[in-house]
Amino acid sequence: MNNTISFFKTLDEDMLLDIGYQETPLSLSFTRDGMERFFDTSNLGEGHIKEVLLQEDSYSFDFSKDCLKYSKYITIQNHQRLFGMNGLVSEDGEVGLAVKYYSKESQQQYTKPVRKFTSDSGPIVDQLVEIEIPPSFFRKNLTIEVLLFAVSPIVKELPGSRGTIFGSLDSVRCVIEGEGGSFPILYHDDPGKPLWWVECNWEDAAIDPFHEDYVSLNINRKHPDAKDLKLNKMPEVSPMMKQVISSALFTISLKVLHEYNSEQLKIEDFDEGSIASAISYFTENVEGSVSSPELLSKGILKSVTERFEG
């Protein structure tokens, strides 16, 4: 939202009702191995800020490599309401639909026109609004909006008003990277590698974030035993996956305990979101504490099993 004072009419809630605006649920997808995979958009409310976490069953979407496809159909039954005295442009004016996508965190915005229409051109029925957003441009968050804009000047006396944005018909915020908290898992497809391994790349566990750049559990989907992990059932976690996660956490905890002893883990004020703070939080509730590797291993396995069983 901006705080500009508008010298022209804008699209408000009343007008949105008057024009008979309807839309189909939006679809957000990407293509992997020739198959289109869809993000879950079923619980998006209407009229509120819509937010979708770009994560699907196989957890394989990677915005540095994959295109993101947005599509929906929209209808404007009473499009004539947009023209004339009480409309947005003059009776003989022209209005357009456009898609804008932007990300403040990625410092970029792009806008593409979809179509133009006049008062005489008939209602807009099941108009496909579709856009493919290329990979390796965006990070953190991305907002996609469907806009209504002035193709012709709002009034003839204001030729510079072409391109004026009247408002947004739809807006969805896509969360590309969550704010942390989940276990960083990276997937590989290499028949020559083991089923799983841990990578610890941090320099200082007290500072470096609990993020895949610094620590990760690596899963090899092409290993013969990978089927037992039941990755296609995620977010449901299979018994074998629980074992793998527990072992990975144990390895990471041991490495952190080489740098910070168990007393420091309890009392030190580590950076929020750091690896040490995550392990400190996790081991705090592990029965048997961190006094010996065997107790730690047992405690982690028990804790992981309980967490996934809710």
């Binding site: 508008s6 357009g96 915005q109 806008t111 390796s136 500072i207």
Partner: protein, 236 residues
């Protein structure tokens, strides 16, 4: 490949350098050392080609910045380093380059100014150089250099520090830089803060309209934007 450095980590690293000298701190991998070697070679090449030394470099800052920026951008987007716009929008990546890969070069250019190393995200020197070229890019180093040659440090700042609420409009920025680059270096227009005025007007206009949606496209929009001032200045 691209490592990010958190703000807290950067604070710690900067303090360490203030006490012990602005020396690089490289990871033992196949990435950091080659990156540094290339950047150091580029720095030396510019000093030699333009007969600069560390003192005169700070008197011809735009000349040095432009030359280093063009080489930096071209190197980082090359197949060897593959920096995407996604990576380039991460302050953490620039903090790491600034503080660990080439702290000595940043120090030569900016002394101990922590804002230019990492503290002010919009002013991290290496980051501003990359984005200046990305937002001005005309398809090749040679074409881009030709439109940027007559600019000043203020022009660079006016472009890079006006990201807008939702980020840069990349095609629009490139068109503005192309148009401005075609104004001869000896033209009186350049000395009258033309670029600053154009960028201010653009910021005001884009708060209500989208240049890419105008009939005639961004070329027509940019021409009109400049003509608001060039016609008036030419009349005076």
């Amino acid at each position: 490949m691209w490592k990010e450095m958190s703000r807290k980590e950067a604070d710690k690293r900067f303090e360490e350098m203030v006490n012990n000298g602005f020396e690089p701190k490289l990871r033992k991998n196949q990435f950091d050392a080659p990156l540094r070697d290339h950047l150091i070679a580029m720095h030396n090449e510019i000093l030699e080609e333009f007969s600069l030394n560390e003192e005169s470099l700070n008197k011809k800052t735009y000349l040095y910045d432009l030359q280093f920026a063009l080489r930096l951008y071209n190197l980082l987007i090359s197949d060897d380093f593959q920096m995407s716009v996604q990576s380039a929008s991460s302050d953490g990546v620039w903090r790491y380059i600034s503080l660990n890969i080439i702290p000595d070069i940043v120090h030569t250019r900016w002394g101990s100014n922590d804002n230019r190393f990492y503290k002010q995200p919009r002013r991290i020197w290496v980051k501003t150089l990359w984005w200046y070229i990305f937002l001005s890019w005309q398809g090749s180093v040679r074409e881009t250099e030709s439109i940027l040659r007559s600019n000043t440090t203020d022009d660079l700042v006016q472009l890079v520090e006006r990201a807008g609420a939702n980020g840069y409009r990349v095609s629009l920025s490139r068109e503005i830089m192309k148009y401005y680059g075609q104004i001869p270096s000896d033209s009186d227009l350049r000395s009258r803060n033309l670029f600053r005025k154009v960028m201010k007007l653009n910021t005001a206009k884009t708060s209500t309209l989208e240049p890419e949606l105008i009939d005639g496209g961004i070329e027509a929009y940019v021409r009109d934007l400049f003509e608001n001032f060039t016609k008036e200045l030419q009349r005076q």
